[in-house]
Symmetry: C2
Subunit: 314 residues, 2 copies
């Protein structure tokens, strides 16, 4: 599999830490120290997970090395849905006006990016698709509560589009060498640490510490595994792109792996936790830095729990 | 692929048509004539899409021809989620205590069953799994409004579990000969006919007629296609299991295909529209009738829109 192109969209409305001071009593300094977040973006009133996903795709279409009429699989990813029936994937299908291709939307919380790529890998193996579009979009602020002292300040909104082909289409396509995913719903406080129950209690993170510990453990573990299974060493990693949950988690994962912290890419400082879109947005932001031969590991962890990693050779 | 076993769960609380008379002014006769529904089941106060999915799996474990520790892939399917972070799939993973296997949850509305089987097919093709558990569960009454004259009376709750292996494991396994799915989010009123927008307007079906027409058209079309692609004729079909949306849709699909209406299996009369679980529940209810050599077509249509078919040889 090859990543042909990647694009993203973030809403224009910036929310600085100061906004939360009056609502949940947390200071700018406190939030910055504990999370690394200085500000995050909030979707506008007419925006949602679908409109942001659509904008991310539109931002990619111009430089896409083929026409959208060649896309033959769409996988949407979100845990903050606008509509669970006309799903994110279907909204993208409508945008592209591509009839009768497989379309679905999935969630494994913040790890959905890698699960979506693995679903694509399956369709490619079946010869049921050859050019897939993965759209990750999170509208966290629709469900989160600004006054929630435990997590209200963590969330940001944003979306990314990842165009993936079975065959190599151009010289600078990024090769996806391996994809690993794993659920961990049977581990720790997976069922209650962080939840989004639309018909019940909403979106909360009562056990953030358990999420923090498991995120560090699983992202470093699966990174080690994917490196070893591909006969690389940690020194071979040019860039590490972890799920953008918390700068302290990113630093912890890099340290425990003995990866130079400079190699760990982050956007959490100015975007907050954009859920399953965060790592893909980071890929888009940094794509011009990636040189031929660079080895990138994307590693993710989702509340719920689940984890994954993707090894990329540029 | 082979279906090794199938099981289901329906809540005990029966809601007869008379219940709606005072709420939305629709009589028992009117509902029965327009939809074929006499009653439906409603989840109890402590039940939800996850607890029902868990009960469906538990009902299957006793007669499963292998231990749950051999299951190496879980795909949850629901558009009426209890939790979009600790998803249905993760709840099943917790039940089975199966560590580090791929787990995800998907939605293509009422057509999710077949999309989930196609995701399984992909994992099998990749050799990343060999024994999958697909769990379909809908808690429609959590989101629907009883007083909604257009759709409140249509919905029921229920769940099913489908155990699928890559290899044939026993003599009476059902062979899945082909799976076809297609999104149709770019067609008609797909974006607005029926929606479940948890953060906005809720669960409504303002354009039921468009859904009705497209459901008839797509379910008969994809059934014809899957029959032809496998060199069968319509006469070879022993059982047709359509998505359980409306008895008039089922009759229309059977008539337009020239399938004996007796061959079309239905549970909508006593379960209502149980979303993506309906056709799988019908398979479970009728499995003892299926004889060696029987040809079954499961065909589905989801609001949003999307469609699919699965050809089974018993």
């Amino acid at each position: 599999m090859y990543i042909n192109h990647i694009s993203s969209y973030i809403p224009s409305n910036r929310i600085a830490n100061d906004y939360f001071g009056n609502l949940n009593g947390l200071s700018d300094e406190w939030i910055l120290e504990r999370t690394g977040i200085k500000e995050r973006r909030k979707a506008g009133k007419s925006e949602n997970a679908q409109t942001m996903g659509i904008e991310a795709v539109k931002n990619g279409l111009e430089d896409l090395p083929y026409g959208p009429e060649e896309i033959d699989l769409i996988v949407g990813g979100t845990y903050t849905p606008y509509d669970t029936i006309f799903t994110l994937g279907h909204a993208i299908q409508k945008l592209l006006d591509r009839s009768d291709i497989p379309v679905l939307s999935i969630s494994t919380a913040c790890s959905t990016f890698i699960n979506a790529v693995e679903v694509v890998e399956g369709y490619f193996a079946l010869n049921k698709a050859s050019k897939a579009l993965v759209v990750l979009s999170e509208h966290n602020t629709l469900y989160s509560k600004d006054e929630d002292q435990k997590a209200g300040h963590l969330w940001g909104d944003g979306a990314a589009a990842v165009f993936i082909s079975r065959e190599k289409l151009k010289e600078n396509d990024f090769a996806i060498k391996q994809v690993i995913t794993g659920g961990a719903g049977n581990v720790g406080k997976a069922s209650d640490s962080v939840f989004l129950r639309p018909g019940y209690e909403g979106f909360e993170m009562p056990f953030g510490r358990d999420v923090f510990i498991k995120a560090c453990q699983y992202m470093s573990g699966v990174t080690k595994r994917i490196i070893e299974e591909n006969n690389y060493t940690i020194e071979d990693i040019d860039y590490l792109i972890p799920h953008q949950a918390n700068l302290r988690i990113t630093k912890n994962v890099a340290e425990s792996l003995n990866v130079d912290p400079e190699k760990a890419l982050s956007n959490i400082q100015y975007l907050g936790n954009t859920g399953c879109a965060g790592a893909a947005i980071a890929m888009d932001e940094n794509k011009s830095r990636f040189k031929s031969g660079d080895v990138i590991v994307v590693t993710v962890f989702g509340g719920g729990y689940s984890y994954g990693a993707m090894l990329i050779e540029c």
